[in-house]
Structures are given as C-alpha cells and as structure tokens.
C-alpha cells in the first residue's frame, strides 16, 4: 500500500521544473488539442519531437517515463490492434478472414503515437510540478469564473486538502488492514463476493476516521479564523519570467509548423 505514489512529483533542477505552473498547464492543454489536430505523419512528428525535447529538458531519468507508459500499455495495445481491422483500400495482408489494409495500418500507428504523446506530456507536467503549485495554477487560471459566482478559492482549497490527505489516508488504510488481519480477517482468498464483503471491516473504519479528520480540520481552520479567500495574500506569488516567454514562443513556433504541415501536405487519416 505504501508504495503507491501520488502526484508523482520528482524533484530536480531543470528548466521545466522552474517554468511557471500556469504556463505549463495552459501549454499542456494546447498541446493535447493540437496533437489531435494532426492529420499526416509530418504534422504528427512535431508534437512527438516536442515531447522528446521536454523529456530531455526535464532531467528526469527515462525509466520514470517508461513506468508511466507501462500503466497504459494495455490500452495502447488494444486500441492499436482493434484499429488494424478497420480500413478500406489497398490490402497488404490477408489471412483467412483477417484483412489488413494500408490505411488501417496508418491509423493504428497514428493512434499509438498520439497516445504516447499524451502520456509523455502529462507525465512531464506531473513529474515537474508539485501538487500545491498545480492547484495554485488552477486557482489563478480559474479566477475569471468569479464572474459566474463560482467560488474558485474554495475549489482550489478543496483540491489542496484532498491531495494533502492522500498519503495520510493510505497510511490509515494500512493500519486498519493490519488490525483487522490481526483479528483474522481474510483479505486474500475467496470469490469476488467474499472479497467485497471482506472490505467492509476496512472501509467503515476508514470512512469514520476520514469524516472525523475532516471535522477536526474544519475546526482547526476556524480556530485560526479561516473565512475563505477574501483578502488572503500568498507567500509565493507566481510570476512570469523570460524562460516562460521562451517556452511559449517555442510552443507557438511548433504549433505553426504543425498547421503548415496540416494544410500543405495530404492527409493520411481522417
């Protein structure tokens, strides 16, 4: 249980680590959208090169990225195999009832590269940004929503608290599991129904203590006169530096390249 890492922030001293979290977040969104707007291999190569560049700049060992890709390996495999069977036109492989066409092969390869780009880019964000920085960035970026009377500060506070308590609750689960095992709870054997039933002695104490903890925390916050975001200042104020501008410029340049490829070179997928 204790081996589960959440947020997966990996400390290091790289350009990507020092980028403003708001910039990183916005660029990630733009990147993901642009990756889905590629229609031929030339255009697709742009986000791929960009992702590889980020991996190098982040100074994080490649095996960490491999680990995050391993988690979705099954998804990649299934989607690419399924896509192999859909396609028209020139048949390049035929065996009994299986027909694989060139366009299907192209599609399949395209999807694999797209998913890889998505995973790498989101991994770059979570590896190089602390969860607190991330929620900070989300709070700042959502500020315009105040117009619609959405309490952005509360949402950000909830996210911060939730992230803060993930390790605590994991530890708690570990403790409760041990205590119930000491009472002879059998968590490892039996059918599905029995295993679900075996979880009750763990889930109930966990919920009880989580609710208790939440109430204690609320009390402690009120004791320190917490009353929402009004008039609060920050210890660390986010600010845009020249490296952030550089990052944006590089991204816009690659985006332009992608659009040019898309427009002037024939589409291979639709």
């Amino acid at each position: 249980m204790r081996d589960i890492t959440f947020g997966q922030y990996i400390p290091s001293d790289s350009v990507i680590h020092r980028l403003d979290p708001r910039v990183k977040l916005v660029l990630l969104f733009a990147y993901i959208i642009s990756t889905f707007c590629t229609f031929n291999f030339y255009a697709l190569s742009v986000p791929l090169v960009f992702a590889v560049l980020c991996i190098f700049l982040s100074k994080i060992p490649f095996r960490q990225y491999m680990k995050s890709m391993k988690a979705v390996f099954a998804v990649i495999l299934i989607t690419s195999v399924l896509n192999l069977f859909y396609g028209h036109g020139e048949v390049i492989f035929e065996w009994v009832f299986i027909k694989i066409t060139r366009s299907a092969l192209n599609n399949s390869a395209f999807i694999v590269v797209r998913i890889l780009c998505l995973i790498i880019s989101s991994a770059v964000l979570t590896f190089t940004t602390t969860p607190t920085d991330l929620t900070d960035a989300i709070e700042r970026l959502m500020k315009p929503l105040k117009v619609f009377h959405i309490n952005v500060h509360s949402i950000a506070m909830m996210m911060t608290i939730a992230l803060r308590f993930v390790p605590t609750l994991l530890e708690e689960t570990d403790k409760i599991m041990m205590a119930q095992k000491a009472r002879g709870a059998d968590l490892e054997s039996g059918g599905v129904l029995q295993r679900v039933k075996a979880l009750i002695p763990i889930l109930i104490p966990l919920f009880v203590s989580a609710i208790q903890r939440a109430m204690d925390l609320a009390m402690a916050m009120e004791c320190r006169c917490y009353n929402g975001g009004k008039g609060r200042t920050r210890m660390k104020v986010l600010s845009i530096h020249s490296r952030d501008i550089m990052g944006i410029v590089v991204f816009i340049f690659s985006l332009t390249l992608l659009i040019i490829f898309d427009i002037f070179i024939a589409h291979t997928v639709r």
């Binding site: 205590a179 000491a182 009472r183 002879g184 104490p205």
Partner: protein
C-alpha cells in the same frame, strides 16, 4: 520454563535498497516464556512496535526467523492466519478497528473468523467483556456511540475473545485518564492471572511495567539492550538514562534516600513496596506507636 516464542537473528529493514533504508529491528534473539508477563520498554523509534508486529506475522522480517511453539511461523503461508489467532495483537489506539453495527457483533468478529460458534462464542464474548470491564448493557449499542474508554475496552475485548495463547498489547493505555489506565492494567493483570497465558505489554510508563511485568525487554535502536527481571533492569539506572529511559519515580526517590544514609532495600519498584518498607523502618525507630 517452556519457551512459547523464540526469535532467531530477527531483523527488519524498511525501504530496503532505497536511500531511505532504515533498520527497525537489528539481529534480535529472544525467548518469551509460556505464562510470563513480559514488558517491553524503549525510546520512540526503538523498534518496539515493529518487533511485536512481526511476532504474529503481520510484518515479514527481512532476515531471521520467529518460532511459535517450536514452529517457524513463515514456513507455511496458509498457517499464518492460525498464528494470528494464537498470538492476539492489540494495536495502539485500537478504537479505529471497530466497525460492526453493535458492540456484541464487533467483539464476535475475531472469534467467528477463528471458527468459534454457538454457546462457546457467546461465552467467549461475555468472558472477554468481563475481563476488560465492559458493561454488558453496552452490547446492543453501536460501537460509535461509546465513550473513548469504552471503545478501547470493546476493541481489546475483540482480541481477548479470540482466546489467544499470547496477548500482545501495544501501549493499551495511551490517551486514557489516570484512573482508566490503572483500572485497565489491573484488569489485564487479572486476566493474565486467571488464564495463566502469556502477556507482552509495550509501554512508555516505567511505573506500569515495574508493577506488572515479570521480565522486561529494553530495546534501543532496534537491538535488545537488556532482558531480565524488573529488579535486574531497574538497578541499572544510569544505563537506562543513556538510552533516554528512566527508572520508576519511586525507585529513584528510594535511591536518593539511600544515598542520604537511610537503610532501605535497593530494589523497591512500587509505591506499595516503598510504603511497606518505610513504615517498617519508622516502626523500628519507634516513630509509630
């Protein structure tokens, strides 16, 4: 005396082969005798809790073996559950393990897992509640409605109801008021005397350990520093204070009196003993009519 638990080169390392590697228990060779009351003391982080959690197979040691009645407990993975019924474990702040609808059902969880049924089950539950001083009126209440002390008693009853041969208690009195602590420890001692089973008590309170334990294990940095009777251990006050521990308050008072030339025995561990010896002395000197 017959050995019930024996450990051989027992070691436990957390975070093996990572930068956070930490030895919690280091090459421990101890014997726990059948029917004894063993106290374990040690500074915070000395490996007490890790040790007791290994004794009933909840944590697997990184090295070494644990023998229960002469059998290696990790030899057969399927028998590990049986070990846990024989070696009952009460965790620190055991209240969080309560989950059933009623107190009665919650105490029954352990014994039912063990396979006890029918009238035997009922008598196990009532016996356990009697030993911890839990009133039977509370049986039909939800465990979450109980007070802190009652919750603690209900949780401990849930372990005692499994009728273990060895009962391990990891700081059972933490967070209780002084009266509650005394009462709970007295009841555990009564239980020990009535069933003549083995008790392992982990505690920070030298007074409690001195009062009840037959033998004391002193842990320091994962190693066994001393293992002997209360008198043997508490006669080495200096060595204890080097480890951040101390002798019971009454023992240090008696030692100071002795240093000032008052002839009291050196091995006084409880207030009652001191009271008895001092009144004997006063009587001898003619202060008491």
């Amino acid at each position: 005396m017959k050995t019930i638990i024996h450990t051989e080169n027992l070691s436990l390392t957390y975070g093996l082969k990572t930068p956070f590697e930490k030895k919690a228990v280091d090459d421990l060779n101890i014997d726990i005798y059948e029917g004894e009351f063993l106290g374990i003391i040690g500074h915070t982080g000395s490996g007490k809790s890790s040790l007791v959690q290994m004794l009933n197979g909840l944590i697997k040691p990184t090295q070494g073996k644990i023998f229960l009645n002469g059998k290696d407990i990790h030899a057969d993975k399927k028998k590990l559950r049986e070990v846990r019924f024989k070696v009952g474990m009460v965790f620190q702040y055991p209240e969080y393990q309560l989950f059933e609808e009623t107190v009665y059902k919650d105490i029954a969880f352990g014994p039912i897992n063990k396979g006890i049924t029918g009238t035997e089950l009922d008598s196990c539950i009532r016996d356990a509640a009697r030993f911890t001083g839990l009133n039977e009126i509370l049986f039909d209440k939800s465990p979450f409605e109980l007070s802190g002390g009652e919750k603690r008693r209900a949780a401990i009853s849930g372990i005692i109801a499994m009728t273990p041969d060895v009962l391990i208690l990891d700081e059972p009195t933490a967070g209780l008021d002084p009266q509650g602590r005394d009462r709970l420890l007295r009841q555990i001692n009564t239980y020990h005397k009535a069933k003549s089973n083995t008790i392992v008590l982990v505690s920070h309170s030298m007074e409690d350990i001195a009062r009840y334990a037959d033998r004391i294990l002193v842990m320091n940095k994962g190693r066994c520093e001393m293992l002997g009777t209360a008198k043997e251990v508490f006669s080495q006050g200096e060595k204890l204070s080097e480890m951040g521990l101390r002798v019971p308050q009454i023992t240090s008072i008696v030692q100071k009196l002795r240093a000032n030339g008052i002839e009291l025995p050196a091995d006084i561990l409880t207030v009652e003993q001191a009271y008895f010896e001092i009144s004997k002395l006063l009587d001898k000197r003619g202060y008491i009519q």
